[in-house]
Symmetry: D2
Subunit: 144 residues, 4 copies
């Protein structure tokens, strides 16, 4: 798997539900944590208190293949799709050892937030994409 | 919107994040709550302690159109797709008044759980689908 | 139970954990939801986008007496302690029918937030306490 | 701080709320994660699928001293109180560098769960306490 970033994590008790497995919505938190870890590995933060840039999601999806359980160790691989002047699309693969837990996709749009909370889509600063791609080319991983 | 069930809910503080809007993963909890409310309206429960049937998700997706904020009142409309012998596919539309917040889809497979936690896909009992469809035809709503 | 406000709610699937009961941290969300419902009943909101007032917690505790399960209907009774110029202390009792699930206490301090995110304790506006007490005297309840 | 175990963690985006800081209920998840990491460091797991032992909480409290923010690195120190034949009481201190975020206490009772979901308090196996104390004496830390 070339040009991917790996985020490792342990499944926590609060991530599970009464079916004895990880609650399905937890996968979206895992995908987001991996995205933010990628940004940190690039020397960036998805949220800087002093600026007005934001990254709300425009779509998120996950295909579940195998259940996850408490204290399972997972590896979330993140890749970045080409293109997109105002939005970034990430593809995720979550595995536990050799077992694929599932695959997901998430698109976040770059916005400028006004003081009243309004949001306006803007072009992504070129430097951000360059830094993210540099990490992906190195094939870094980071926990957590 | 014919053949749909409506679930109403208020956005809670814990559903939000530092961007000042509802965290994207909360939408999946809203979709699930609406699904379970539909089951209750049909005199059913998605989880019965005394039986071994379960409904793990095989896919979930959401398209975000407009942000949601603390104390917004939302209406989650649920519809059920035709077909599917071993799985149910629900389509959701979340609105706040006239504003569409987003649309989602969720597929859950009917399984029999073994005492060791293993899961095996089984045919959906016909009575379950009949009862769910009866509620959808009536166009019920229930809060919460 | 005099001078209390009642908030009713159903236990949702995502509130549970693999032990088959409600995750202990969910009780704190229930307590918070009840607090905010009390504010709404008083014509107030704990969070107004246009002002800089906030209510961070300074303490929170809960004593668990009986387990809660999926689809249980609960009633959260909230009371407000006397006194406190800069902080409000709420006492909560969560019941399911005649069964006491547990009791909790939460203290929130009234702060003014600076544009840099800093927080400074301030005196609680008298009107807020008057409006909350008026609801509690009436013994209102609200769901959800 | 002698006889303590340290669990390190990064504050995630989903842990925050619209006030721009970590939601107060997240502290209880951090405390629980630290408890479970202590068990793993002792070669134990708080939950074993094949046995019927459980550890429901009987009380949990937290005193908040300073706010936590997105991407803050925290250290959760856990200590174990003496005594308690049927329950374990943990004391927690959460810090970010030199800043104390808050202190908490959590008591979990050892139960045997019946096949119907009922729970009965039992004596804690001596070996569990011995193994936990051995880790605490070594002053281990583990992330995450």
């Amino acid at each position: 798997m070339t040009e991917s970033f790996h985020y490792r994590r342990l499944v926590q008790f609060a991530d599970t539900d009464l079916a004895g497995i990880v609650h399905f919505a937890s996968m979206f938190r895992y995908m987001e944590e991996a995205e933010h870890a990628l940004w940190r590995a690039a020397g960036l933060s998805i949220h800087q208190r002093e600026d007005d840039m934001g990254w709300p999601r425009v779509s998120a999806s996950f295909e579940f293949r195998n259940p996850l359980r408490f204290e399972d160790e997972i590896d979330v691989a993140v890749r970045l799709r080409d293109g997109g002047r105002r939005a970034l699309t990430y593809d995720h693969t979550i595995v536990r050892g050799e077992t694929v837990i599932g695959t997901g996709t998430m698109t976040a749009v770059c916005v400028s937030r006004g003081p009243d909370g309004s949001m306006r889509a803007i072009e992504i600063p070129a430097e951000i994409v360059q830094k993210l791609r540099a990490v992906l080319r190195r094939g870094d991983d980071q926990s957590p």
